[in-house]
């Protein structure tokens, strides 16, 4: 329970943090009333149609405190399509001239901008086996690289430039089963970098005031509802964990008391033969430790199985994404979990062990 709770809580928080970092922005601007929809699209892949006129970009750029503004467009999502390498793929278009989120990565990894017909994928996007390109709406894309994992919907996203999106739309009219429903001169969001030293919250308010049809949110507050959700779920999980640990402690204490009682006479005999009080204490505490390690390992394996194999179910049930820990982090968490198990077992065993060690051998051997 402890390990699962820690994995879920850290995974959820890490996922949100990486999603915010991936945005790369100080302020995120979306159509008024669509913050929740955008959050759901970015994190969980929920379908959303959020569009605003491209003209808002210039108005946003004119707001004092705004250093840079770059627009993005959510094209569409495709589920179980023959073209797609993941179960559901999402497509984003970005402005290669003003972008400051994907472009730095491109420069670092590829050394050049994305050309028309090239795309960058999230961690889970790959070219289907037997093909050398990803075909979408009849248009072939070269997958030139993959971004790092975030544990969010961004891992199943294909990033392309606006020119590539428009080219794809044109091709789709003749070569796709269904034309790509792309609205030109529209954008879905505008990512903003503020001037150095500017207050992000104040700039966001200024944008909202200057462009009433949009809503500007400091990036740090993005996914706030999901953060609250994580906190709420975690509070519940913590209560359950505390109760479970307390109940385990009580049950183990009873079991150790019964074990000591069943072996009283045996302890008396060992004491008669020369075993010291310390020996008896050590024997019981060692037994408790072995049981704790065995139980802790079994619990750790179960936690890993649950989290890894039922990850999608957990995300669906909890309503927020969970970034799975690295192997090293998992090892550290398992070790911490074992330590918790050892402490609980020791706490449960110490009183029965003390009683057993301090009882007179003659009393122990009495029927």
């Amino acid at each position: 329970m402890v390990l699962t709770t820690v994995i879920i809580s850290r995974g959820g928080q890490d996922s949100l943090r990486l999603a915010r970092e991936r945005l790369g922005a100080d302020v995120v601007v979306v159509p008024r009333g669509s913050v929740t929809g955008v959050e759901g699209a970015l994190l969980l892949g929920n379908a959303t149609n959020t569009y605003m006129p491209r003209g808002v970009v210039d108005r946003i750029t004119a707001v004092p405190g705004v250093a840079q503004a770059s627009s993005q467009l959510y094209l569409t999502s495709m589920a179980n399509s023959s073209c797609c390498s993941v179960s559901t793929m999402f497509m984003f278009a970005f402005d290669p001239v003003t972008d400051f989120t994907v472009e730095p990565w491109l420069q670092e990894k590829l050394g050049h901008d994305l050309q028309v017909g090239q795309a960058v994928g999230g961690a889970d996007v790959f070219v289907p086996e037997g093909q050398d390109k990803i075909k979408l709406y009849g248009y072939d894309f070269d997958l030139v690289g993959n971004l790092e994992r975030t544990g969010t919907n961004l891992d199943q996203t294909l990033f392309m430039t606006f020119p590539s999106a428009y080219a794809m739309q044109e091709i789709s009219k003749t070569k796709a089963k269904m034309a790509l429903p792309l609205l030109t001169d529209t954008v879905s969001s505008v990512l903003v970098k503020v001037d150095q030293g500017a207050d992000r919250t104040q700039v966001a308010q200024a944008i909202t005031d200057a462009v009433p049809e949009v809503q500007a949110v400091p990036a740090a507050e993005m996914f706030g509802s999901y953060g609250d959700q994580i906190s709420g779920v975690l509070r519940t999980l913590v209560v359950i964990v505390v109760l479970t640990v307390a109940l385990s402690l009580a049950l183990m204490a009873v079991i150790f008391l019964m074990s000591v009682h069943d072996r009283r006479r045996q302890i008396g005999v060992l004491r008669a033969l020369g075993a010291t009080q310390r020996f008896v204490m050590l024997a019981y505490m060692t037994e408790a430790s072995v049981l704790a390690v065995a139980g802790g390992l079994a619990g750790a394996v179960l936690a890993v199985v649950v989290v890894y194999f039922f990850h999608d179910l957990l995300v669906s049930a909890l309503g927020f994404t969970i970034l799975l820990p690295s192997v090293l982090s998992m090892i550290v968490l398992v070790v911490v979990g074992l330590l918790v198990a050892l402490v609980v077992a020791a706490a449960a065993a110490i009183v029965p062990a003390l009683r057993a060690s301090r009882e007179e051998p003659a009393v122990s051997m009495r029927e």
Binding site: R265, G268, L270, L273
Partner: protein, 235 residues
């Protein structure tokens, strides 16, 4: 000659459920001499097992002193007392006292494990003692594979493994048939005479008195009669 065990002014009381205390022993003065075979008899509840427990350090006296080989055993720490018990005493209890999960050889070697000293000849010694009690061919057997009488013989072997100077037996044959009882008593007689072992044995069977060199009769928590027995060693 210094007594193997010396009890002076011994009293042992237990608190009852209604807070009234019960005196299992009172005003007991006793010297168990070296190489004696002391047989202690008395009715049930007269305090003979309590006397043995107090003399061996398994029960704390409410009053008085217990000296073993010149050492006041209640003036030393529990660890020292356990060590003294391990080095100088062997125990044969009335109830089955072998450890179920250990083989006969391992059970016999248990006192060696608690001695804190490496015993390279431990397994050899255990096998010799199992031979002495007629079970040398069953060293790897588990206690559950043996009869009660056979188990008690292994307990005798265990009691002797550390070469103690004092053997304490509490009703060692009460649950055994006559033939097995006689076998146990013959072993006791043999080690008493050959190894000059001091033995203190509690029993309610008066037919075992002749095996001893001294008979102590107890009643109501104190010594009623104390004298040498002319039927020493069952001769």
């Amino acid at each position: 000659m210094t007594a193997a065990v010396s009890l002076r002014g011994i009293g042992k009381s237990y608190s009852g459920k209604d807070a009234a205390s019960f005196a299992a022993l009172h005003d007991v003065d006793l010297d168990i001499e070296t190489n004696e075979f002391l047989v202690i008899t008395g009715r049930s509840g007269c305090g003979k097992t309590t006397l043995l427990n107090v003399a061996s350090g398994l029960a704390t006296p409410t009053s008085g002193t217990v000296t073993v080989d010149g050492v006041d055993i209640w003036s030393i720490s529990d660890a020292e007392r356990s060590g003294l018990r391990n080095r100088t005493m062997g125990f044969v209890f009335q109830f089955p006292s072998l450890i179920p999960g250990l083989s006969l050889e391992q059970n016999v070697m248990l006192p060696l494990e608690f001695s804190g000293v490496e015993h390279e000849d431990g397994p050899q010694r255990a096998r010799e003692l199992l031979d002495l009690v007629g079970l040398g061919h069953r060293t790897e057997a588990l206690p559950r594979e043996l009869s009660a009488g056979q188990q008690q013989r292994v307990v005798v072997a265990r009691a002797l493994v550390n070469r103690p100077t004092l053997l304490l037996a509490d009703e060692p044959s009460s649950d055994l048939d006559e033939e097995t009882e006689d076998e146990i008593m013959q072993i006791f007689s043999r080690v008493h005479s050959e190894q000059r072992l001091t033995i203190a044995m509690v029993t309610h069977a008066r037919n075992l008195i002749p095996f001893g060199t001294r008979h102590l009769e107890m009643g109501d928590g104190t010594v009623r009669a104390d004298g040498a027995d002319p039927g020493a060693n069952g001769d």
